[in-house]
C-alpha cells in the first residue's frame, strides 16, 4: 500500500516515489487511467459510478492501461438497464479492439462515499468477475476524501481463502474457526503503483510550475474538521446499529439453541426411563434418537458474513477517523504556532 499511506506528499511526488517495485503483486496503473477514473468519479459525484478496467496481467504485476466508464443507471427498469449495460460493454470492447487498444478486462473500478464499500454486493460482483478473469482487481476511489488533498485510490481483491469459503455459503462460527479466518481476511489490499511513460514524465516535469505549492497542497491545509467527522460518526453509528442487530440475531439463536438442548435433554431422559421400564418388562428398546421429532431439527445458525463485513466497515471508518484526526491535530498545532508568532 503506497499512495494512500503517504498522503502528505503531492501527487507528482507520490507518483515518482512509487517507481520502486514492491516484491509482491502490484497493480500498476497508468497515470492516464488514474486521471480518467478520478474525472469520472468526480463528475458524477453524488451518484456512485463504476467502470471497466482494461490491461494486462504480467507475472506479479497487473498493469492497468486503460479504462472506460459504464453509463450511469437511470431510474429505468432493471432488466433493460442490465441488458443495455452488457451491450454497451461489448460494443465498447469491440471498438477498442478495432483501434488496437488493450481490451483485456482485468477488473472494475467504482467510486465510494467515505469508504463505505464493504458490502455483499461488492463481493458478489467480485465473484462474477472472478469466474472469467482469474486475477481481477477492484479499484476504489473516494472522491470526497480526495477533496482533502489525498489520493484516495485503493486496489482490492478478495482473499483466496474467503472466496473458497464464500462458494460454500457456510459462514458458521465453526467453519470460520476451522479456516482460521478473521474479519480482516476478507479483502486484500494490493499496493497501487502509478506509472507513466517516459514521455509523460518528461512532459510533467516540463509542466510543473515554479510555484512552491499546488492546489492540492492548499487543500490539505483546510482546518474545517466537522463535516468529515460528523459524516464518519454517522456512518459509525449506523454500523453499530447494524452490528447490534446482528448480535441480536445471534442472541436469539443461542437462546433457541439452549432451549432446544434443554428440551432434548428432557426428552432423552424420558426415553431412557421408558427404556428402563421396557427392559424390565422385556420389551424391545426404543431408539434414543428420533429424527422425526421437531426438537431434534438443527436450528440454522445465522451467517456471520454480515457481521464480518460490518466489522470491516467499522475498521475502515475508524481508520479514517484516526488518520484524519491525526492530521487535523498536527494542523491545529501548526496553526497554534502561527498564532503565537
Amino acid at each position: 500500500m503506497t499512495t494512500t499511506s503517504t498522503p502528505m506528499r503531492s501527487f507528482a511526488q507520490a507518483a515518482s516515489a512509487e517507481e520502486i517495485a514492491v516484491p509482491s503483486r502490484v497493480v500498476q496503473i497508468d497515470g492516464l487511467v488514474a486521471l480518467k477514473i478520478i474525472k469520472h468519479c468526480k463528475e458524477c459525484m453524488p451518484a456512485l459510478v463504476t467502470g471497466q478496467l482494461l490491461g494486462l496481467d504480467i507475472g506479479s504485476i497487473l498493469e492497468v492501461t486503460n479504462c472506460f466508464p459504464f453509463p450511469s443507471r437511470g431510474g429505468e427498469e432493471e432488466e433493460e438497464v442490465e441488458a443495455d449495460g452488457a451491450n454497451y460493454q461489448l460494443e465498447m470492447m469491440r471498438c477498442l479492439r478495432e483501434v488496437n487498444v488493450d481490451n483485456n478486462t482485468v477488473g472494475w473500478y467504482q467510486s465510494t462515499y467515505m469508504g463505505s464499500f464493504q458490502t455483499v454486493e461488492l463481493i458478489e460482483t467480485f465473484l462474477n468477475y472472478q469466474e472469467n478473469i482469474k486475477r481481477c482487481v477492484c479499484i476504489i476511489y473516494d472522491p470526497l476524501r480526495s477533496g482533502q488533498g489525498v489520493l484516495a485510490l485503493k486496489a482490492l481483491k478478495l482473499s483466496d481463502s474467503f472466496m473458497e469459503l464464500y462458494r460454500t455459503q457456510v459462514f458458521t462460527g465453526e467453519k470460520l474457526r476451522e479456516k482460521n479466518m478473521t474479519w480482516k481476511d476478507i479483502f486484500e489490499e494490493i499496493p497501487v503503483k502509478i506509472s507513466n511513460s517516459v514521455l509523460v514524465s518528461a512532459l510533467m516535469t516540463e509542466l510543473e510550475s515554479d510555484a512552491p505549492a499546488s492546489q492540492c497542497d492548499f487543500d490539505r491545509l483546510v482546518l474545517s474538521t466537522n463535516p468529515f467527522m460528523e459524516k464518519n460518526l454517522e456512518f459509525l453509528i449506523e454500523c453499530m446499529d447494524d452490528l447490534s442487530m446482528e448480535q441480536q440475531k445471534f442472541q436469539y439463536y443461542y437462546r433457541n439453541l439452549s432451549r432446544q438442548q434443554v428440551q432434548q435433554q428432557s426428552w432423552l431422559q424420558k426415553r431412557r426411563a421408558e427404556n428402563v421400564a421396557r427392559r424390565l418388562s422385556g420389551e424391545e428398546l426404543l431408539p434414543e434418537e428420533d429424527p422425526s421429532n421437531p426438537i431434534f431439527k438443527t436450528l440454522p445458525e445465522p451467517s456471520r458474513l454480515d457481521s464480518y463485513l460490518i466489522t470491516n466497515q467499522i475498521a475502515n471508518y475508524c481508520g479514517q477517523v484516526n488518520g484524519f484526526a491525526g492530521q487535523s491535530l498536527s494542523k491545529m498545532y501548526l496553526m497554534d504556532a502561527f498564532h503565537q508568532d
Binding site: N226, M229, E230, L233, E234, L236, I237, E238, M240, D241, L243, S244, M245, Q247, Q248, F250, Q251, Y254, R255, S258, R259
Partner: protein, 984 residues
Amino acid sequence: MESRFWTHQVSSDTESDDDQSEVDEEEAPIVGDGGTGGAGSKYLTRASLSDSDESDEKQRVVRSAKDKRFEEMAVTTEQMKNQMKINDWVQLQESFDRLNKQLEKVIRVTESDTVPRLYIKGLVMLEDFLAQTLANKEAKKKMSSSNAKSLNYMKQKLKKNNKLYEVEIEKFRLNPESEADAEQEDEDDDDLDSGGDFSDEEPVAIAGGYSDSDEEGEEGEEEGEGGWETKKSKKDSMMDKQFKRDPSEISWDMVDKKLKEIIAARGRKGTDRAEQVEQLSYLARVAKTPAQKLEVMVHVVSAQFDVNPSLNTHMPIPVWKKCVQNVLIILDILAQYPNIIMDETSDLEMENETQKGADHDGPIHVWGNVVAFLERIDDELFKSLQCIDPHTKEYVERLRDEPLFMVLAQNVQRYVERLYDMKAAARVALRCVEHVYYKPQEVYEAMRKLAEIRASPDAATAETEAAADGDDDFDEEAKHVKLPAEVKGPPSFVVTPEIVPRTPSFPNLSRLLMDQLVGTIYKHGDERTKARAMLCDIYHHAISDEFHTARDLLLMSHLQDSVQHMDISTQILFNRAMAQLGLCAFQASLVTEAHGCLSELYASGRVKELLAQGVAQSRYHEKNPEQEKLERRRQMPFHMHINLELLEAVHLICAMLLEVPNMAANAHDIKRKLISKPFRRLLDINERQTFTGPPENVRDHVMAATHALGKGTWQKAVEVIQGLDVWKLLTKRDFVLEMLKSKIQEEALRTYLFTYSSFYDALSLDQLMTMFELPEAHVHSIVSKMMIAEELHASWDQPTRSIVTHNVEPSRLQALAAQFAEKLTVLVESNERAFDARTGGGGLEGMSMGRRNKDGQDYANVASGRRGGDFSGGNRDRQGSYSAYNSGGGRSNYGTGRGGQSRGGRGNAGGSGYYRDQRAGQVGARNNLGYQSTRYQDAYSSVGRTPYQTGPASSTGANRGAQADATGRMVSLTHGGTRPSAHF
C-alpha cells in the same frame, strides 16, 4: 372449449371440470359466442335431465344475472338431491361447497342480506339427510373410507354453517311451502301484533277456548289443542260463552293441568309464542292460591321473554312493559306472603306445593329467579336502545322507560336483601349502576324529575287499580293494555295489592346513589361485578370533575393490569372510563395526564371500535358476518356515547402541547423521543401535502395550530384552537378556553426558548412577557423550571431582569459522539453477556430468567391486582403488587429514554419497536399519574414506601436492569402487542 364440453358430456359429474367452466362462464358475457351459449344451455339441460346430450343445439338464452344465479343454485340443489339418492358424500361435499359459493354470488347480485329460500331449502334437505344417514349405523359401516370421511366433514361443516342460518331454517321448517317473502312479512306482522293487540282481543279467545275445552272435559289433549286454534277465529261467539262461565268453578287442579300443558308446548314447533303468553296470563288471573299465581306469573314472564326469539332484535316495547309489570306483581306476591320462597333450586316436579293456600304456615317453594328476570329485562332494554334509531322520537320515549326499570331494580334489590342473598343484590346493584354511571348530575336530575312527575298522578289513581297498574303518562298502548284486562277478562281470583312501591326513589345527588350502590357491590359482589362497578365509579367520578379521586381509584384497583384478561364488554367499559378520565383531566388542565389517558386509545386508530361507538371499517380484512353480529351486539346505545370529536380534539391538543416543545428541544434528532406517535404521523401527513387549505375538521385545526405554535405565533394557534366547534359541548367552556390559551402561551414560550435560546447571549424577562403576554411570575416560573430540568442552559440575572444563556449546547459532532458512545455501551453490554454465556456464567440463561421474572411480575401484578380489588382487606397483597408495579414501572420508565435512543438498533422488527414504545409510553404515563398523586403516596406511605424510594434512587442498578431487560422487553413487546387488541 370444445373438448371440455365433450368431457363434460361424458361424465357429467367431474366436478373440477364443472367448476372450471363455471368460472369461465362468469367472465364471459351472458350471451356470448357459441362456447358460452353452450355453457348456458348446459345448465338448462342439466336442470331438466342430467344425461341428455343435446348441447350440440347450443341454445341461446338471455337471462338476467339474478335469474342466472338463482338457476345455478337450483341446479346445484338438484344435483345434491341426486347425490343423496346414491348416497355419494364425496360429491355432496363438493356440491355443498359450491352452493355456498353460489350463495355469495346471489347475495352480491341481489344486494340484500336475506338468504334465498332455495339455499335454506338445500340446507334443510342436507340436514335431514345427514341425520338420516347418521342414524343408519349399518349403512355407515358399509361406506367407503373416502365417503365416510366426507360424511364426517359434512357433519361438522353443516353444523357450523347452519348455525348462521338458524332462524331461517327454523322458519322454513315451520312453513316449508309458503313463499319466502310472504312469510317474512307474516313474521313481522306477527311480531307487531303480538306486541300491540294480543292483550285486548286474544285473551278473550283464550279464555273462551280454555273454558270450552274444560267443558269437554278429558276428551283428550289433541282436541283441546285443536280447540285453541279454531276458537281463535270465532272469537265473537266465544265472548258470551266465556262470560257465562264463572271463574270460581275453575279448580286448582284445572289450572295446574292447563299450566303444565302449556309449558309442555313451549318451544315446540308451531306454538304461537304470543298466544302462549295470553293463555298464561289468563291462567294467572284464575289461579287459586297466591303460590299458584306466582308460579303462573313466573311462566308468563318467561313466555314473554320468548316472544322475541332472535338475539339481534329486541323485545317489542309493549311486551317489555307488560313484562316489567308482571315482575312487579311477582314481587308484590312475594312481599305479601313472606312464606313463599322463590328460588331456582326448588324442585320443579314437586307436586302440589302451590296448592297450599294463603293461610299455609310453612314455607312454600316456587321455582323462579327474579334477578335473572331483571337482568334479562335490562338486556332487552339495552338491546332496544341499540336498535332504535337514536334520532327518532321513539328513542326518547324508550329512554323514558328507564325509571321504570329502576323501580323494578330497586324493588328486586330490596327483595333479595330481605333474603340476605347479597351476591344477587350486588348483581342487581350493578345493573342499577350501569344505568346511572354515565349520567352527569343534570341528566340525573332530569331523570329524577321525570320519575317524580310520573309518581304524583299515579299516587292519586293507585288505589283504584287492582292487579294491573299504570302510570298516567304511560303511552297510549299501556292504557289499553290495562283497560281490557279489567273490562273483558274475569277479575283476578287472587287479588294482589300493590305492596312494592311503583315509583323509584332517587337521592338528590347521583353521587349518593352511586356510592350507595357501589358500596353494596364492593362488599358482596364477585370479581367481575366489582371490576365493572369500579369502572363505573371511575367514570362517574370523571364526569363529575373529580379527576384525582377517579385516578386514585383506578390506580389502587390495578384494573389497568388485569383488564386485558376480562371480557370484552368490561374492556369496553374500561376504555370508556379511560376516555372520560382523559376528558376530565383535560378540563382540570392536566395536560400530561389527559394525554396519558387518551394516547393508548388512539394508538391503534380504532377508537370507534374500542369505545363500541360504531363499527370501524377495516380495509385490510373483511369480517365474517358472525364477527360483525357480535360486534354490533356490543355497541353502546347512542345516549351513552362519548363525543368522539371532542375526544379527538382533546387528545390531539394534549399531544400538540407536549409534542411541539419536545420537537423543538430535540431538533438535532427529531425522531429520538416521541411522545405521541399518532400525532407525529398526522403531522408528517400534513407536511407532505403540497397545498394546505383552511382547516376543516378537528385534525386540520390542530395541525394548523401546531404549525403556528412551532413558528411562535401563538395568537394564531389560540385562535384556531378556540375556533373548534366541539368546545360548546363542554359545561365549563369559558374556563377551558381560557385554560387553553394560557397553556398555549406557556408552550409557545417553551418552544421559543428551546429553539432560539442558543442564538441569544441574554434574554430580557420583560421582552418575553410582552411577547407571550404572560404575567411575570408565570414566565419566571416556566423559565426556572426549564433551568432546573436542565432543558435550558441559562441562569437568571436578577438586577437586569434577564436570562443569561450559557451556550453549552453540544455541537452536532458532540451529540453524535454521545450517541455513538451510547451505542457502544449497548454493544459492550451484550458482548459481555454473550461472553458470560460462553464461559458458563449463564448470561443468556440469566437473560431468559430475567424475562421470566418480568413475566412473573406481570402475572403477580395481575393476580394481586385482582386481589387488591378487594378493598375490605388484603393490605399485604396490595403492598406486594404495589412494589411490583413500581419496580416494573421504574424500569420501563428508564426504558423510555433508552428505548428511544437505541431504537434504530433494535428497531429491526419495526412493528414491535412501535409496540414497545407504546407500552413504555403508557407505563411512563402511568408513572406520571402515580408520582403526582400525593394522596396515593400517603395512602401507602405506611405500607410500601421503601420499594418506591429505592426503585428510582438506585438508578445504577436500574440501569443494568433496564439493559438486561433490553431483550427481556421482547416479551413485553408481544405483551404490548396484544394489549390494544386485548382491549377489544
